[in-house]
């Protein structure tokens, strides 16, 4: 049952991801990206990481893709037909395929996990506790980073007043 669910979701994710990088129309890409993110969120749920799944939907689907769509609308003339790919497509496909093959090979043969996986537990409270205790310093740092990114984005995107 779990395996069936995994294969369905994984196939959906990969298919939409392929659409993202191949569709000539960038808006189609963005919409496919939404579905791909949702697929990954499904994988997270399958891995008993419900909180991460929710975060994935909130931030990626709700935040980043919307931001992407805004940027697309502000910049690209969707109607104009241009070359979607640059001239190094063949070699790139070869190399990306090769690296994928190596990674797949390594995943299938190189990973041996000694011992049983622990029983699924309620992860959300434990996660909250970890973020506020062991990992509190990176947690605070990441908030500073987000603040800095926000300010930086505003400065970069703002029109010079002249």
């Amino acid at each position: 049952m779990q395996a069936v669910f995994f294969f369905v979701v994984a196939a959906f994710t990969v298919a939409t991801a392929l659409l993202v990088v191949t569709r000539p129309n960038i808006v189609h890409s963005a919409v496919a990206l939404i579905f791909s993110f949702c697929g990954v969120a499904g994988i997270y749920v399958l891995l008993d990481a419900e909180f991460l799944g929710a975060v994935q939907v909130l931030i990626y689907v709700g935040g980043i893709t919307i931001l992407l769509l805004f940027a697309i609308m502000l910049t690209t003339r969707i109607a104009t037909r241009v070359d979607v790919f640059n001239e190094q497509m063949g070699l790139s496909a070869l190399i990306a395929g090769g690296i994928t093959a190596i990674l797949v090979y390594a995943s299938l043969t190189g990973i041996q996990i000694a011992g049983e996986a622990p029983a699924p537990v309620e992860t959300t409270p434990a996660l909250g506790r970890l973020l506020m205790t062991t990992h509190v310093l990176p947690f605070e740092l990441i908030s500073i980073l987000l603040l800095a990114a926000m300010v930086g984005a505003i400065i970069l995107a703002r029109r010079e007043k002249e």
């Binding site: 994710t13 890409s29 909180f51 984005a153």
Partner: protein, 102 residues
Amino acid sequence: MIPVSYYLVLGAVLFGIGMFGVLTRRNAIAILMAVELMLNAVNVNFIAFSRYLPNSTLDGQVFAIFVIAVAAAEAAVGLAIVLGLYRNFHTVNVDEINLMKW
């Protein structure tokens, strides 16, 4: 329970697709999307290991949260840069922007 390698293979494939996008797309926004795919691939691995490793302490999930936060920051700044590029060059195709060429 299905073996962990299934998730790792999924991560590898997503990563490869993302890398292909980064290497070939001309539109800067499309490149950003592909980068997001690669980050997602990494997160899948993190969470899979966090679930499957015995005595795991959820560190993988915590790390994934940080990755998501950094990705959000990266998207915000990246898109601001794209807007700036568009304003200055009237294009978002990265191969037409080659000020660094000597």
